[in-house]
């Protein structure tokens, strides 16, 4: 009798304690890895559906393109070499991003899953016309999509960016991976995740998003999009060298190249950045605010050309340091110029510095900071330290 009780208990335990209440085999999932948002621009397929009567009441506002990973092996043996893509893009146009994603379920048998979403790319046209926080509203609220998803903008159509990758690669992953090159290139802005933009969007602070262009078969990081805090919309772009200047002003770079020409000998001079840092100091005198940007960097010669194979002695190094410092100042200045006089925003954190150093002054100017900033004088102190010249001690002839 007792044993029967125990057996009953065990049976009950097997039934009640098995912990796979809502499991789905992973190969049956459509793992979304990338999303591209564009202003309404229906694809051929969609237009075809509509002709056949596959339509529902909606305003055509946003075209969402979802990129799925095709798990290896799931596609089966491939005949011929025509199909080497291991991703698949589907576009759905509508006014609600959530409705659009559920509408996709009418076209695929596999449940969509956002656990592995890596990047969201927003097209220029859409970003200029809609508040970013409206666009990512669903993604920041959802329970599957994590706040570490990276946001990018694209000059042109975002969908095209997700279409391009070398064979065997998945575009969404490529975009994420390029950010790892920040230690070798200063033209990449820091990766901005959704977690990082909710604050600025809610607090009406302007910020930058990395821009990615697509031409031909490849994506390329090219400058950055400027999002104005007040409206939450894209208002313009920094090009590659302006972004480089921005990286110098903020000191956010991890390494890269600085190229210039020596004015005296008109020869190429490139410097490899090993480290950089920057401090923005605010000065307040009465009602006048001004900023001093203090940039420091150390690194090594990468290329130094001069006829005759000169020895890189102290005087030579010091002269080159001056030349490089001027170049950095020029880069920084042109970026700040563009922010102040063309875009009328502060995305380099000048406001934050003022806030930290002079909280009471900040309270007075914070309401209209982006405009106030346009009038504020900024000066630069650049200090570059060439520590070494690598394996060759003379200039290249």
């Amino acid at each position: 009798m007792k044993r029967a009780g125990v057996i009953m208990m065990l049976l009950a335990a097997c039934v009640l304690l098995s912990a796979c209440w809502s499991s789905t085999p992973i190969e049956d999932l459509n793992l979304i890895v990338g999303i591209a948002l564009d202003s309404a621009d229906e694809t051929e397929v969609e237009a075809g559906f509509e002709r056949e009567g596959g339509n529902y009441p909606k305003e055509d506002k946003i075209s969402c393109t979802y990129q799925f990973m095709i798990p290896q092996g799931a596609a089966g043996p491939q005949k011929g070499s025509s199909q080497t893509r291991n991703f698949n893009n589907i576009t759905e146009t509508g006014d609600s991003i959530f409705e659009a994603i559920r509408e996709l379920l009418l076209r695929t048998n596999r449940p969509l899953n956002g656990y592995h979403l890596k990047t969201v790319v927003i097209g220029e046209q859409l970003a200029r016309s809609m508040n970013i926080s409206e666009l990512i509203g669903f993604y920041t609220r959802d329970n599957n999509i994590r706040p570490n998803v990276l946001l990018l903008v694209s000059r042109g159509r975002a969908r095209d960016v997700l279409n391009n990758a070398l064979p065997g690669q998945i575009p969404a992953f490529v975009l994420e991976g390029i950010f790892n090159n920040r230690d070798r290139n200063t033209k990449i802005w820091e990766p901005v995740s959704m977690a990082m933009v909710v604050g600025p969007l809610y607090g009406k602070t302007s910020f930058l998003l990395q821009n990615v262009n697509s031409a031909g078969k490849e994506p390329k990081f090219a400058g950055a999009g400027v999002i104005k805090g007040k409206t939450g919309k894209l208002i313009g772009f920094l090009d590659e060298s302006e972004l480089e200047g921005m990286v110098w002003v903020t000191g956010k770079g991890k390494g890269g190249v600085l190229k210039t020409y020596d004015p005296d000998r008109d020869k190429l001079l490139t410097y490899e950045i090993k480290s950089m840092s920057s401090k923005i100091k605010a000065k307040v005198e009465g009602d006048d605010i001004s900023f001093v940007v203090n940039i420091k960097s150390s690194g090594r010669y990468a290329e130094v050309l001069a006829s005759g194979g000169k020895k890189l002695d102290k005087a030579w190094v010091e002269k080159d340091e001056k030349t490089l410092q001027k170049q950095v100042e020029k880069l920084a200045q042109s970026t700040v110029d563009k922010m102040q006089h063309e875009l009328h925003v502060d995305v380099a954190g000048f406001g934050k510095s003022l806030h930290i150093q002079f909280p009471s002054v900040w309270r007075k100017v914070k309401e209209d900071w982006d405009e106030t900033f346009s009038e504020i004088p900024v000066t630069y102190e650049v200090n570059i330290d060439i520590e070494e010249y690598g394996a060759s001690g003379i200039t290249a002839d």
């Binding site: 209440w21 809502s22 920041t140 329970n143 599957n144 994590r146 706040p147 570490n148 995740s193 977690a195 990082m196 909710v198 604050g199 600025p200 809610y202 607090g203 602070t205 954190g349 934050k352 806030h355 930290i356 150093q357 909280p359 900040w362």
Partner: protein, 363 residues
């Protein structure tokens, strides 16, 4: 009077129980609630102040308890203010413990069903939780304290790892300037910490079980300092990642902090599931202690068997937790409990202590 009073716990056990009781669901929402109230990044100071305040009120409770060694509040309150009032007050406090238990279970349900076990009905989760708690509480205070001690190394390690990893998304500038708005907003941030620092009340019955009640003050100080440290870490890291503006938009800011990074050099890439699983254990402890307190109060006030009270309260806890209609109601319920705690454990013990002194009750 009760068999349980023979059950003794050491000072260390009492301290660990205290820590486990304080650390609960509050940590998931604390960064948001304090920032909402104060609006500055200085809220970590508010949290520290909250800890100190709860320690001060706790000290009064300790003194009160030390006048009546071996007795719980439910037993001695009638000796101070007479039977009817004493019974009433005891009932209110037992009811408070019940509400804490319900609040914890409902919070954990919300978070788990949303982030961890989508598709699992919440009742299935709650049932497993409640029945296990009942089984544990039947074992007496020693069983509960052993459970607490068992999970402490696990939860603390995981918490520490997760916090260190989250430095990846930490930006010190989000916490600056320190005291840029002055001390005013910092004070405003103290009040919302009362829910998270519901500390002293556990002492109402814990001290009665201690083998050396003289050391109760140490239990209070250590038992409050450790959770304060955890809370400050959580608040600082969350604000560092999201900035003040961002934190207020997040429903569960601390969980979102853990969701905001991935690491590629450890066995796991993501840690929110791990943290959540661990934190469920932590909340389970709080739930058990509160549930135990409620049942103990009921049994001592009504002079009923402790085990029967456990069974009687079981459905009540579940019903209260299910009555709460929405997430906003849950947060309002939490704030309500916090206010209740301020009155019950912040303001009330002092007059009681004075009355006891004046009437020369106790040693």
């Amino acid at each position: 009077m009760n068999a349980e009073v023979k059950d003794r716990i050491t000072t260390t056990q009492a301290t660990i129980m205290m820590v486990n009781y304080i650390l609960a669901a509050g940590i998931l929402t604390l960064p948001r609630t304090v920032v909402q109230a104060s609006g500055t990044p200085d809220v970590w100071i508010s949290v520290i102040l909250g800890g100190i305040l709860s320690m001060l009120t706790g000290a009064v409770i300790v003194r009160l308890n030390q006048r009546f060694p071996g007795q719980t509040f439910f037993q001695y309150s009638r000796r101070i203010i007479g039977k009817p009032l004493g019974v009433l007050l005891g009932m209110v406090i037992a009811g408070y413990f019940l509400c804490i238990a319900s609040y914890e279970i409902r919070s954990v349900q919300e978070v788990t069903v949303f982030f961890l076990l989508e598709g699992t009905p919440s009742w299935a989760f709650a049932f497993a939780f409640i029945w296990t708690a009942l089984y544990l509480c039947r074992g007496g205070i020693n069983a509960v304290s052993r459970m607490c001690r068992l999970i402490v190394p696990i939860t603390w390690t995981v918490f520490a790892i997760v916090c260190l990893l989250s430095l990846k998304v930490f930006d010190i500038n989000n916490l600056r300037p320190v005291l840029g708005e002055g001390l005013g907003p910092v004070w405003k941030g103290v009040k919302p910490t009362s829910l998270t620092f519901t500390a002293g009340e556990a002492l109402f019955f814990l001290i009665a079980f201690m083998d050396k009640p003289k050391k109760a003050m140490r239990v209070l100080v250590v038992g409050t300092c450790i959770p304060t440290f955890f809370y400050v870490a959580a608040v600082v890291l969350t604000i560092g990642a999201f900035s003040v503006d961002g934190v207020v938009t997040r429903t569960w800011p601390f969980l979102d902090l853990i969701r905001s990074f991935e690491v590629d050099y450890l066995i796991f890439e993501r840690f929110e599931s791990l943290l959540l699983v661990i934190w469920i254990m932590q909340i389970f402890c709080t739930f058990c202690i509160a549930f135990y307190g409620a049942a103990l109060g009921m049994s001592q006030i009504l002079n009923k068997k402790f085990h029967n009270c456990l069974f009687a309260l079981l459905p009540v806890v579940y019903v209260i937790s299910e009555i709460i209609p929405s997430i906003n109601a849950l947060f309002a319920f939490g704030t309500g409990i916090g206010n209740w705690a301020i009155v019950l454990f912040g303001c009330m013990p002092l007059p009681l202590l004075i009355i006891a002194r004046l009437r020369r009750i106790g040693p």
